[in-house]
Amino acid sequence: MPPNLQIGRVGLDVDLNSPQDLSFDVDDDRRRVTIRGYLRAASLDETKALRSELLAQRGQLVPVTWAGDSSMAGVGVVDAVTVDVDWRDGALQGAGFFRFAVVMDWVGSTSEVEFQSLLSSVEAVEDHSTTPEWWHAPPVGSLAYSAGGATPVLIDRATEDGTIHVATDMPAGTHPTWSVNPANYYDGAVELWAGSRLRAGRDMPMLPAGWEINAKTLRIRPGVTADASNGAIEVAAWQGSDWGPWVSFSVWWAGTNRIPSWHYVSVLKNTPEAVVIRLVRDAAEAPFASTAKHELDINVRRGGRLVTMLYKFDGASAQHAVGFTDTTAAARPSSASYINATSLVSGDRWLVGAPAAFTEDAVEGQVQIDNASKSMPWWVGVAVGNASNGTGDGPADLAKQFVAQSGEIVRAVRR
């Protein structure tokens, strides 16, 4: 059932009530929509979540829908958000009550607007001569996907929100256009959940053990032992009708010491197209005490079957290693940039790869870089249903999709 009022991601998690007033202001230069109402949910915590996520959408492109007036469904760019916490309203009593006003530049309704993805196609440097294949996925349910004169291969992947089309093997420098109803804009989108709430911006509570990225094709969460981070990153794949089991991965500093926990988490990027979060660990604690820090940046894109990770240690260079946390027999296809688990996990083939030259440990399921460095980009991929190479979902295909890194900026343009 569609939410009552939805302003971007606000209204998807905690329900947002009908607005108190909604005004359109049209003149020669621009169209403005102002929505005023109040935030009140079932509990004070949920009301506060509505407040923080509404404020976090300032500057973002957001779809707006309202069950009370289906003709105003459309897309705008949030210009200003005001939330008043007034004691006369009993703002912090009971379930909370905050007045809000959102002013946005109105781009248009579905018939007026289509979307364009500006992709920065950057080939990751690697030692394995993998041919990059750029790829991109618009939301589930989008149509009229156009890559200009380019002819990508369109494949389908199953997601928790339905089937998503993924354009693979696109030429670098393609900026596709596509259309989708505002109500479906977030279908297939990458979601960041922290503290059990869906986050809309770059603010999240400091819970290194309490976050989850749901990219609808994959889910990523921290490994947790006794309510605290245990240093592992767990990934699960959507198998078509349900989620598969969690598979755990870890980082070994200098190949010898497994990172035992992460101290901080923050959001670097939170858009429907991609989420990047950063985990930080202080190196002053044993076992490798030094005045340096470890960082792990985790980057997931919509519709992907791989997670790009960037591990950095700003102390001395070392030969870092990454791989399956638990002993997992794995094999490296000849001169490949990855290793894959010999046994399937619930029918799926899991891979770990790295662009730098590495030596694999086929018994434990780890890869260790050959040349000492302060940074180690690496990736986790899953060939769901043991898909074979050449389908766009096979291990070698995912390796090509990793090397073809893309940053995406979506803008709405008038048709």
Binding site: V122, L268, K269, L310, P377, I409
Partner: protein, 399 residues
């Protein structure tokens, strides 16, 4: 009241005071130096003259001091002004026969051309240079510029008055050549391995109004065409666009060197201005030194064309993508040609009088800090950088 520092150029600065300082009217005069120290160090008498200059962030020469009802304001330029002023043609002009060089090496040339006001410091490079030219009576600034263009050198003048030179296979000893600072427009923020700065405005402009792709040296009817290595330009509707100038031979310079110098001064203009949120960029990887004009930084802004897509013409290290904040980006290494920054509350502002070097002591310095009208607080100040993406040459990165 910003300071504009420039790469191999005087730039300018201006300073106003808030309060009546008539008691200093007799002591603050042009030719003295304005010295800015990153943090106010108090009474200059507690330090030596050398220590104060070594700690300085900036030193410039006072060109103009004005008293309006007791309120002082000053205008000046950077230490490059001591090499001579191109616009007026006034400055040091070496007169001796030593300025007529035949197959001279860089130390020999520079020890004659660099005037007494400055001290020649490092002269680094790993190629042999044999320079022949007659610079007698020529303005030092013009001679040094011609020598640098001909032989591929560049220089920096430190606030201490020492001038260091470096040439084509850039060593990294004078300037930051292999960047450690990234200005990313799409993904600003910090990273463990890079110093990130936040661009708030980026303007990219390309103009060819002044562009030459060839120059005739000589006179009409009797000239030599010099094209150097220039192949830039474009096709009009029916053929190639020739943009040739005519420059008289000056009788002393070799034709091709003169032509090359004129072409270098008339390249297509790429004017990129980036306003940073930070008012000072300090680079931990560079020993916490501030990033100054002449240093290179990485800039990533696909919307302005600031990406690294030179293909095979640039050396491999300059073409590779790098990982920053979880994303692969392809930033372009660019040289800062101008940096404009405010003198903010917290800095130390001093006047150093134009006394003979052997006689000057820190007792002669005047502390102006308490009188200065500050431009901005550090949190609201920002730096404006102008960068140059054209005519890049590179050396090999350190192994």
């Amino acid at each position: 009241m910003p300071v504009t520092e420039a790469y191999m150029d005087p730039g300018d600065w201006r300073l106003s005071c808030r309060v009546d300082t008539r008691h200093l009217a007799a002591r603050i005069r042009p030719y003295g130096l304005l010295v800015v120290i990153p943090q106010w160090v108090g009474d200059p008498a507690g330090y030596t003259d050398t220590e104060l200059l070594a700690a300085a962030r900036y030193a410039g020469v006072v060109l103009d001091s004005q008293w309006d009802n007791g309120i002082l304001s000053m205008v000046g330029a950077g230490l490059d002004w001591f090499l001579g002023d191109r616009s007026t043609g006034i400055g040091p002009r070496p007169r001796s026969s030593a300025a007529d060089f035949v197959d001279a090496g860089p130390e020999e040339v520079l020890s004659v051309l660099v005037p007494d006001t400055l001290d020649l410091g490092l002269v680094v490079g790993d190629e042999a240079i044999w320079h022949t030219a007659d610079y007698r009576d020529r303005l030092a600034k013009v001679s040094i510029a011609a020598f640098c263009t001909a032989e591929g050198l560049h220089y920096r003048i430190h606030p201490t008055g020492v001038i260091d030179f470096d040439w084509s296979e850039y060593s990294g000893l004078v300037f930051v050549e292999w960047p450690t600072v990234i200005a990313s427009a799409t993904n600003p923020g910090s990273d463990a391995l890079w110093t990130g700065v936040t661009p708030v405005d980026i303007r990219a402009r390309h103009t060819i109004r002044d562009h030459m792709n060839g120059v005739l040296v000589g006179t009409e009817g009797d000239s030599v065409l010099v094209t150097g290595n220039v192949t830039t330009g474009g096709y009009g509707p029916h053929g190639w666009t020739h943009r040739h100038g005519l420059v008289p031979s000056d009788g002393t310079s070799e034709t091709f060197a003169l032509g090359g110098g004129v072409l270098a001064a008339h390249g297509p203009a790429y004017d990129y201005a980036i306003r940073l949120q930070e008012h000072e960029v300090v680079d931990p990887a560079g020993g916490y030194a501030p990033i100054l004009p002449g240093d290179r930084i990485y800039v990533w802004d696909p919307a302005s064309g600031l990406t690294n897509d030179w293909g095979s013409t640039a050396p491999s290290w300059a073409r590779e993508a790098l990982w920053y904040r979880g994303e692969a980006i392809a930033p372009v290494p660019v040289r800062i040609v101008e940096s404009e920054w405010p003198i903010v509350d917290g800095m130390g502002v001093y006047y150093r009088p134009p006394i003979r070097p052997q006689d000057i002591t820190s007792d002669d310095w005047i502390d102006l800090t308490r009188y200065v009208e500050w431009e901005a607080t550090p949190t609201e100040a920002g730096t404006l950088l102008r960068i140059d993406q054209s005519n890049q040459t590179y050396g090999a990165p350190p192994t």
